[in-house]
Symmetry: none
Subunit: 245 residues, 2 copies
């Protein structure tokens, strides 16, 4: 399909949602904005009658929702992953306001799968989860009380994406071929292993080395071919070592 | 107060809301966006424990909510009244999309009281109610399923008003310390030398390898500290080789 809506490539990922009611309300929020694909990572209870009740007319979104053991599974195939947070976090990239981020996310979704990731109701996204996101997005909120309900946050996010996808006739996306989330993860694993082998990274005292490198990679939006080059380079370093050793 | 936030002049009016849970969720949605005044017209049940439960930390909004017999009472003192509808209506003014309307509403709220009016969960605003509104506002939604939950609609509306009022601004981006050109050049030289040593880059047939890596580095705008990390990593690969060789 040539001119498919960017919304068809968009998926909402809820990581460790506790309340089934929030899952149902999320499905409804998504569907009102034309977003149909929902992925759940270790939901507290699912399926559940409370989710069904709050989904209202969005039972089809719930019925086709996929459940995963790990966040990585929910991100498979995505070229761009945006993690939502209600506060600036120490590590990784500084958060961007939703409206600014929406343009880029909608443009990317024109070509390939894009994920909007929301964390647990109480604790939000963990640092490990955020490290799998290339973008950190904040919904601007009151400094006195910034605690949006989970489904309400999804509603606002999908609304912004829908407006960005429709209102502006988007410029055609660059013809860059973005690397998929799983390929970038494999690259990180490869780098980590090579650094451990060389003694640069000591597993007992890892510090923030991998975080720094992940932040770097997230910023650059690696292309498929670039990942291949970097992995080839790493392999050559390792091979050489093996031959010489 | 001269420079008060427009949000302080904003009030949300729910006309004939049936479910107390929606009233509580509305209070929470408002407060996250800095909107504190809630007016209720003939609510189904209020106050109610269900409203309290869903208000979460916004119990103050509920506690100060005013209850009216008629819509006119809830609109007292307002210079501009915007009625929300999920579908175009026969009568009077054509609806405007929320984003377009938000600018005007936020500007008016700088000076005087402005009301955002939402109707009953099932039937929406009646024609009589809409006739008391000077603006008709639509939240753009999917043509296949446009039924936003009441509190979700309030969340999106207050979010748009808050953005329009620029009441919130994100923390300034971290001041990144960019690497100097000569340090980036030194990194490129280091990479090239390491790749030649490992056999990944053959000087006789360099291809476009270095160009690709330079393009990658240019895109990411390396920080000073990142260059140091990457060079340290390369050095560890080389050292290890030397020790093993």
């Amino acid at each position: 399909m040539k001119d498919q809506s960017p919304l068809e490539n968009l998926r909402v990922v809820l990581s460790r949602p506790r309340h089934p009611g929030n899952i149902g309300a999320t499905a409804r929020a998504m569907k009102t904005m034309g977003v149909m694909r929902l992925d759940l990572v270790r939901p507290g209870r699912f399926p559940d009658p409370e989710a069904d009740a709050l989904a209202s007319g969005a039972d089809d979104v719930l019925a086709s929702a996929r459940v995963h053991e790990k966040l990585a599974g929910a991100l498979e195939g995505c070229v761009l992953v945006a993690g939502f947070t209600s506060r600036p976090r120490d590590l990784s990239h500084p958060p961007r306001a939703l409206r600014d981020a929406a343009t880029e996310l909608a443009a990317a979704a024109r070509e390939s799968a894009v994920a909007l990731v929301f964390g647990n109701e109480t604790t939000g996204l963990s640092n490990a989860e955020l490290s799998q996101c290339q973008r950190m997005v904040m919904i601007p909120a009151s400094s006195r009380y910034a605690s949006l309900n989970l489904a309400a946050a999804v509603q606002v996010a999908c609304y912004e994406l829908a407006v960005a996808a429709s209102a502006h006739s988007l410029a055609p996306a660059r013809s860059r071929k973005r690397a998929k989330a799983e390929d970038v993860e494999a690259l990180h694993a490869h780098i980590e292993q090579a650094m451990i082998a060389s003694g640069f990274l000591r597993p007992a005292h890892p510090g923030r080395l991998m975080q720094r490198l992940r932040r770097l990679a997230a910023r650059v939006e690696l292309e498929k071919e670039e990942v291949a080059i970097l992995r080839g380079m790493l392999a050559s370093f390792e091979r050489r070592r093996a031959e010489e050793g």
